[in-house]
């Protein structure tokens, strides 16, 4: 539902802050006058304001429906949750079924994960609001250290993938995200960073605002704009337009758009323990679709029914996608 006239991120934020203030029940007469001045100062301000005023209409028009406590509770609770599956995995791990499987690369991650400030297990996703209001989403198998001091707010991504929605720091300290490869400084923004879980270098993908990235080894600095994705490593910074939504996992999806099968399988493999492989003979098949992460068995079944492949299971934790016999 994109509208013709773009509104800059900063004006949007101001409009939201003003609108929220009017809804707080605590606005002063002086603030109301200030709001009037703000609206008149610029036509973009006024347009952003008008959009805000219209926003809750959809909700209020349906006030009748939400008068029903069951409907209201359903709306509050509706989410793609991963909790159940995680419980099952925990139980299985307790039974040490995983002992026989090669997990070398994960072992050091477990150790790191145990030491990190925030971490998730394979298949888990988690949201955390930091002290400054910054919203941090951790994707599967991720470990993060949070280091806020008097001069800066630093998020150290040890491995995995995070999505950051920057909060406004009352002390004006800059927010920095650090990986082995690069230091990234958002300029009012939402973005995703991934590193160290099988992907070479660091992947940065900006969904709104901009992020200034500086390489830690070798030279290179560049501002990555909204809608762009960049690979950062010792070779340099390579920018491309993302073909898929890199933050769909927040909603519990992986989205493929003419994606190579081996890339999709790599993606899915991040969300389940054990080994998920793709035979090179079918690696180049293209897939498109949105796949719910919390039901990876279903995804495999779908692939099997829509592509000339079959799913070969040596054990529950060792699965290979191979060409279908006779196909």
């Amino acid at each position: 539902m994109s509208q013709a006239q773009p509104i800059s991120a900063s004006v949007r934020q101001q409009a939201i802050a003003w609108y929220s203030l009017t809804q707080s029940g605590d606005i002063t007469a002086e603030q109301i006058r200030e709001l009037e001045r703000w609206r008149q100062a610029d036509s973009e301000h006024e347009l952003a304001w008008q959009r805000m005023v219209g926003l809750p209409a959809l909700l209020r028009n349906n006030a009748g429906v939400l008068g029903d406590p069951v409907a209201r509770s359903a709306l509050q609770q509706a989410r793609y949750v991963s909790g159940d599956r995680r419980q099952v995995l925990k139980m299985l791990m307790g039974a040490s079924l995983l002992g026989a499987i090669a997990w070398q690369n994960r072992e050091s991650q477990w150790l790191q994960g145990g030491l990190a400030d925030l971490s998730t297990e394979t298949g888990e996703r988690r949201r955390q609001v930091l002290d400054d209001g910054t919203e941090l989403w951790l994707n599967t198998a991720t470990a993060v250290d949070i280091d806020f001091n008097a001069n800066e707010r630093r998020i150290l991504l040890r491995y995995g993938e995070i999505n950051v929605l920057t909060g406004h720091d009352p002390f004006g300290r800059p927010l920095l995200v650090q990986t082995d490869d690069a230091l990234m400084r958002p300029l009012g923004t939402r973005f995703t960073v991934r590193c160290g879980d099988g992907c070479p270098g660091t992947l940065l993908s900006v969904s709104s605002g901009r992020v200034a990235a500086t390489l830690r080894h070798g030279r290179g600095q560049r501002v990555i704009d909204s809608g762009q994705r960049a690979r950062l490593d010792s070779e340099g910074i390579v920018v491309s337009q993302p073909a898929v939504q890199d933050d769909a996992w927040i909603d519990g999806f992986v989205i493929a758009q003419a994606t190579r099968l081996d890339e999709l399988i790599d993606q899915l493999g991040r969300y389940r323990p054990g080994i998920l492989r793709c035979d090179p003979r079918v690696a180049g098949l293209r897939v498109t679709g949105s796949y719910p992460l919390d039901d990876d068995e279903r995804i495999l079944a779908l692939l099997e029914s829509s592509l000339p492949v079959s799913i070969q299971r040596r054990t529950r934790y060792w699965v290979t996608v191979v060409p279908r016999a006779g196909a």
Binding site: Q3, I16, G25, L59, L75, A78, T288, S305
Partner: protein, 169 residues
């Protein structure tokens, strides 16, 4: 009704040329012919409503797939809403009477609202509804949920931001 516009003709051409491709594409993802038919139909309805000039669509199949994909996501969203609704219903002490049709409409509406609140946690949703539906002040919400006013403010900012994104991006 006047003569068909060039846009109508473009949609018609897109429909004749690619409808069966789209159906197959959806079939693969849904595994069900009837649903694929519905979603293919919905995809074209959405294209007609969007009225984006089709002559500057470079790759029609990619365009179709993108729109069909968002419908698929919507479908998953609806499933999540339905599940939440069934759970909420089960938690009710008394039997609850609602006709299949009423239920369908209700789920439809809730799915739309869910899209508006895309990605917000149950806690933020609760805060948002207390403010925007019940008209509580931030202080009252903070008191009711044993939070600081600051936390309520942050949740509201985030909720407004998400509503804005779902409507204008």
């Amino acid at each position: 009704m006047g003569p068909p516009s060039s846009f109508d003709l473009d949609v018609e051409r897109l429909y004749t040329q690619h409808r069966s491709w789209l159906k197959r594409w959806l079939m693969k993802r849904l595994g069900e012919a009837a649903d694929a038919d519905d979603l293919a139909q919905d995809t074209f309805v959405r294209i007609m409503r969007a009225r984006r000039p089709l002559n500057d669509v470079q790759r029609p199949l990619a365009y179709l797939a993108t729109i069909a994909n968002s419908l698929l996501i919507n479908r998953w969203r609806r499933l999540a809403v339905e599940r939440a609704y069934t759970e909420a219903l089960a938690a009710q002490p008394e039997q609850y009477e609602i006709s299949a049709e009423e239920r369908h409409l209700l789920i439809e509406t809730l799915t739309q609202l869910d899209e508006l609140l895309h990605g917000l946690s149950p806690r933020v949703r609760e805060i948002f509804l207390l403010s925007q539906l019940d008209g509580l002040t931030y202080k009252q919400i903070a008191a009711q949920l044993a939070l600081s006013v600051d936390q309520v403010q942050r949740a509201m900012l985030k909720a407004f931001d998400r509503c804005y994104a779902s409507q204008f991006e």
